[in-house]
Amino acid sequence: MEDMKYTAADYKSDQYVRWCPGCGDHAVLNVLHKAMAELGIAPHMTAVISGIGCSSRLPYYMNTYGFHTIHGRGGAVATGFKVANPEMTVWQVCGDGDGLAIGGNHFIHEVRRNVDLNLLMLNNKIYGLTKGQYSPTSDRGFVSKSSPYGTTEDPFIPAELAFGARGTFFARSIDVELKISQEVMVAAAKHKGCSVVEILQNCMIFNNGIHNYITDRATRADRTIHLVHGEKMLFGANMDKGLVQDGFGLKAVTLGEDGYTIDDVLVHDAHCQSNFLHQQLAMMDGHDLPLAVGVIRDVEALTYDQEVKNQVEEVRAKKGLKSLRDLVLSGETWEVK
């Protein structure tokens, strides 16, 4: 094991963790501590900012700078924070309600601006803290306390929204996939720009088993695909299934059947500027095509916080003003003696 400057314990606060026993958030928290240790960025150079909801309690459990803000506004607070102090590594934590309902506007704009921060969206398709209402990611017809006869609306798919907002980084994991979660968190932190990480997370109390179709151990290997840049898109318990191009779409095939060989299987390119295939990969839901986990898109683009800083430096250098007084005296003035 390589020598690390920090251990996971260095990122843990002394606060008692109050999530329900068995909640998927525990796993995310533990992985985040480990990912931070792997990244080696000092706790005092790290900030974790959240909105409101179960997942938004996370900053209290971090020995970093942290801010538990108000419902939906974590993205706006994080944007201001990062612009004000670009030296800090910023993590934002939100849920599906916080990030996509009340905070939907801030979400699309922080993605569009490409603010250099890492956004963990814990998606359990339910409002947990208010005890069980449907969320903007709940499927049509979902029955909850606020939709006793089923919802009459279609959900957002977080990736689709992120791509619609011209996202430069999108990754996905599942709360129970600790290794992949850590891998995508580290990749998110290394990416310069707004890194959106969706983590499918289970709410034991109000939506237990919502991701079972995907997470069930017996079928998980067939219903998910772990995408790794530069590697063939293979999945299945025996890694004998692959994704191939099929017209304008994708198709899952079994190697050796219908004439398909390993050569037909697509190689993942997370760095491709076009998001056309990334979006198709991200939209796979585990039914006809396996749900994609891992880093789906990771491209470079100018970041908002750095560009603000650069512009300020450029204009300052060009104008050469030292103070407000310089500025005012350079305008229209007159003397009274």
């Binding site: 706006a76 990062k82 102090n85 801030h106 500025l327 003397e335």
Partner: protein
């Protein structure tokens, strides 16, 4: 030439320029006020914009005005105009109510044809009579003279017509004996990059000036007195620009980088414009996706250690309420500028009121006290923006500086202060040695109740803030009932104690009078002028004007208790009067109120005070 003319000597004079919103009335008015300031006059100006961006030419809804008050003892843009310049019948109709009885109206008679009158909805062919114009009318064939002056210029008709405002300005400069060279200098700066346009405008301005000279037999000219004003270097500044500059000085004086998170809203947008330009002074100005993101990005920047500001008007302040509550709870410094306009809801966006006082004081859930200050004049916006920032970072609290549409767009001459005229701002930072003694994020200074500010990036001071109630001792989340009450009282006391760090309220006018007139914020000029006139007329009145609203200056109750009659005059239904009444139950506070989207007229104050004094 003046000696040949009938010269009137006046202390002060009001000139109102009016025309289509594309006629350049603002520019003519601005140059006129700058030129007047240059000859030593005090100046105060106020634009009157239409709500529409570009209404049809020549129609009533497209009229734009610009009022300039010059002379000595000038504290307001003036109630009514001595001279009204109207470029068309619509402008004359809309502005005749602002002309003093016996004043002079100067009109472009070329634009008073039947079609022009129809467009402005005149129903007779006697326009002056129809609108009840009582003063002298000077009919000037401006359009034809401008066309003649520029016949050889090679400019197209549209460009030629755009020079008409400079003809009017030239004429007014002659009327008030303003040096044309100075006006040409400002014009040159304006069109420095367009020499052909400058030449045309300069020629037309000269033609207007000469025209005045040639017709001098038919009209008086004026000589305007000047005050002995404090020596120094002056510039002309409006309230919004002054606000932006005050924040920049606070940034310099505190050593904190300045961050603005904002969203466009009338009449506050110019603050965003100015601070966006001031990237050349290191300002990070961000136009966010909405009002909420404006305040929340500022809160994030404040947490990160910047001097954080958001700027807005009433509807935006409503949207920011929850965010401001977070800053109250997290005890972070934050400046929330509210340029008040007519409300409620969208209300009268381009007009002025003082109706957001209660919203600023109380518009949040829970017990959520913060500091409120209010600027008294366009140039005082500089001081109060600075003060808001100083209070915010020295007391770790949100502060709302209230200005208004009248101050925001009004301008006056401002003596550029020396840097040492303003104090250093000392943020209440943590000290490294606090780590050993068990520092907690909500640990307070015992004298001020202010917590200590630890800037992210500082080793060892990692901490978590949030909107949940915290334990007074450990700073961990707490729902303990007694602790909550203790924290509520601590936050309140922190605000109350700011009173030790602000100046006392001054009593002006005649302090020995029985009657005390009280005002706050942007009405200062009108109230001050009214008080001077009342005292001159043998009606003794003392005057206290409040710029620190919450907390109130420490001597407030003492001042109020000294007077038999206390009157609060304000542009709302009595919000400050109620606030003072609750704190001073032994005094029966009288009120003068106006809620028309317009500033007070000095005469309204004089009448209102007189009526109460004689009751």
């Amino acid at each position: 030439m003046l000696e040949k003319t009938n010269v009137k000597v006046l202390d002060r004079v009001v000139v109102r320029f009016s025309g289509d919103s594309g006629d350049g009335m603002q520019l003519a008015g601005n140059i006129f006020s700058n030129v007047s300031a240059g000859v030593g006059n005090q100046i105060s100006t106020f634009p009157d914009y239409p709500a529409e961006v570009r209404a049809p030419q020549g129609t009533l809804s497209g009229v734009s005005g610009f009022q300039v008050h010059i002379g000595k003892g000038v504290y307001t843009p003036g109630d009514k105009a001595d001279v009204l310049v109207s470029m068309n019948p619509a402008a004359l109709k809309q502005n005749v109510k602002f002309l003093k009885e016996g004043g002079v109206a100067i009109v472009d008679i070329d634009s008073f044809k039947k079609a022009d009158l129809d467009k402005a909805l005149y129903t007779t062919d006697e326009p002056y009579k129809e609108i009840g114009l009582k003063g002298e009318v000077v009919e000037v064939p401006m359009t034809s003279m401008v066309k003649a002056a520029l016949a050889d210029s090679g400019l197209d008709l549209k460009s030629v017509m755009k020079c008409k405002n400079m003809f009017a300005l030239g004429l007014v400069c002659w009327l008030f004996d303003r040096p044309l060279e100075s006006a040409l200098h400002y014009l040159h700066n304006k069109f420095a990059k367009k020499p052909a346009i400058y030449e045309a405008n300069a020629k037309v301005m000269q033609a207007g000036y000469d025209y005045g000279h040639n017709i001098h037999a038919s009209v008086s000219t004026y000589r305007i007195e000047s005050d002995a004003i404090r020596p120094g270097t002056y510039t002309d500044v409006n309230g919004n620009t002054a606000t932006a500059w005050g924040l920049i000085l606070a940034s310099e004086k505190s050593g904190l980088p300045l961050f603005l998170g904002s969203y466009p809203i009338t009449p506050a947008t110019d603050i965003l414009h100015e601070l966006a330009k001031r990237k050349d002074l290191g300002v990070k100005a961000c136009q966010m996706e909405d009002e909420i993101a404006g305040v929340c990005s500022a809160i994030g920047a404040s947490f990160a250690g910047n001097l954080a500001v958001t700027s807005t008007s009433g509807p935006g302040l409503a949207l920011k309420s929850e965010g401001i509550g977070l800053a109250v709870m997290a005890e972070l410094p934050l400046v929330i500028i509210d340029v008040q306009r007519g409300g409620p809801s969208t209300g009268l966006p381009t007009k002025t009121e003082q109706t957001d006082l209660r919203q600023a004081l109380y518009g949040r859930n829970g017990e959520s006290p913060l500091a409120v200050v209010a600027a008294a004049s366009p140039t005082d916006c500089f001081n109060m923006a600075f003060e808001a920032a100083r209070i915010a970072v020295e007391h770790l609290t949100p502060v709302v500086p209230l200005t208004d549409g009248f101050l925001a767009h009004g301008s006056s001459a401002w003596r550029i202060p020396d840097e040492d005229e303003y104090p250093a701002i000392k943020p209440n930072f943590v000290k490294p040695e606090m780590l050993e003694s068990g520092w907690k994020p909500y640990m307070r200074n015992e004298e001020t109740e202010v917590r200590y500010w630890a800037i992210p990036g500082t080793p060892g001071f990692q901490h978590r803030l949030g909107g949940l109630e915290k334990d007074y001792n450990t700073s961990a989340i707490s729902t303990d009932p007694a602790n909550h009450e203790k924290m509520v009282q601590a936050r309140q006391k922190k605000i109350d104690l700011i009173a030790r760090n602000i100046p006392e309220v001054e009593v002006q006018g005649n302090p020995d009078a029985d009657t005390l007139l009280i005002g706050w914020g942007g009405t200062y000029g009108h109230l001050y002028t009214a008080v001077e006139e009342l005292n001159r007329a043998g009606k003794p009145v003392a005057f206290a004007h409040f710029r620190y609203i919450c907390p109130l200056p420490a001597n407030t109750a003492d001042v109020i208790s000294r007077y038999k009659r206390v009157i609060v005059a304000e542009l709302n239904n009595g919000q400050f009067a109620d606030y003072l009444q609750a704190k001073n139950p032994m005094t029966d506070i009288k009120r003068i109120n106006k809620v028309q989207g317009q500033p007070f007229l000095v005469q309204e104050i004089i009448d209102g005070v007189t009526k109460i004094m004689e009751a």
